[in-house]
């Protein structure tokens, strides 16, 4: 009984130290056989994402610095500042900062993934892939949130415009 217990403990500890990520053999074999193609696809994705980030970053910057901020300054000048618009500016600015931070984290993860030896360590490669997917999902959330905030700006300004005599 004691020997069985020791054997189980040794097995659990060895699995933990090896950091084995549970993926089936079929998937492992596919990663090994398609390793080069997968890496090529990941590099293409990395380049495309960098391009998209530049475009989106530029649009967000334009919306914040050429629309949201100057409007709030002008409203203050006219003594008609709007709490909703100020809050929207703060939120937009915060999420925009997060968009850049999370993108860097995602790209770092993707770079580490591309550098991994998927032929000899398919399990660890897949584990990293799952992590990178989560980071990509976070980046996607930021994009959706910024689009929502831009839409909110339109709503708030529309309401404000309707009130102007």
């Amino acid at each position: 009984m004691k020997k069985v217990f020791v054997a189980i403990v040794v097995l659990v500890l060895s699995m933990a130290s090896a950091n084995v990520f549970a993926i089936d053999t079929k998937k492992q074999n596919l990663i090994i056989s398609k390793c080069d193609q997968i890496k090529e696809d990941l590099v293409t994705l990395q380049h495309n994402d960098a391009r998209t980030r530049v475009y989106l970053g530029r649009y967000y910057e334009t919306i914040l610095n050429k629309f949201i901020v100057p409007l709030n300054l002008r409203l203050v000048e006219n003594n008609t500042s709007n709490a909703g618009l100020i809050e929207n500016q703060s939120n937009f600015s915060t999420v925009r900062g997060k968009f850049v931070e999370d993108f860097i984290s995602y790209q770092k993860g993707l770079e580490e993934l591309v550098a991994m030896d998927c032929k000899n360590e398919p399990g660890q490669f897949y584990e990293k892939l799952v992590t990178v997917r989560a980071k990509r999902a976070t980046a996607n959330k930021n994009v959706l949130k910024l689009r929502e905030l831009a839409g909110k700006q339109v709503e708030l300004v529309t309401t404000l415009t309707e009130k102007i005599k």
Binding site: I38, Y55, L73, Q107, R133, R136, R147
Partner: protein, 110 residues
């Protein structure tokens, strides 16, 4: 080797070591701060010809900037809304940005 020649050699070697060291530190900072991931002037990330043309078109569109001073009238705000919606349309072209599909098992063939 004369003393002057030796000193010149030491100066040359030290200059190379200092230059290599500072360049290494700069590259480490460039990488660790994440600036490298935002920089598209790296080889392999440079914009292609179509992109450059699009960027020139965008520059023309970006001329509008809402002034931070002046009166607020209905007409001015209508123009603001029109231009803002136009800007949002550009964002909507990237609706599926960072979607999950590109990293899915199916897409990667695993």
């Amino acid at each position: 080797m004369t003393v002057g020649g030796r000193n010149l050699l030491i100066l040359g070697v030290m200059s190379i070591v200092i230059a290599a060291g500072t360049a290494g530190v700069s590259l480490a900072v460039y990488h660790n701060t994440g600036d490298i991931y935002l920089d598209r002037s790296r080889p392999g990330y440079l914009p292609d010809e179509d992109e450059i043309e699009d960027e020139e078109d965008d520059k023309e569109e970006e001329d509008y900037e809402f002034s931070a001073s002046g009166k607020i009238t209905k007409e001015i705000m209508k123009e603001y809304l029109e231009k803002l919606k136009f800007e949002i349309e550009d964002i909507d072209a990237y609706e599926d940005t960072f979607e999950a599909e590109s990293l899915s098992d199916e897409k990667l063939g695993i």
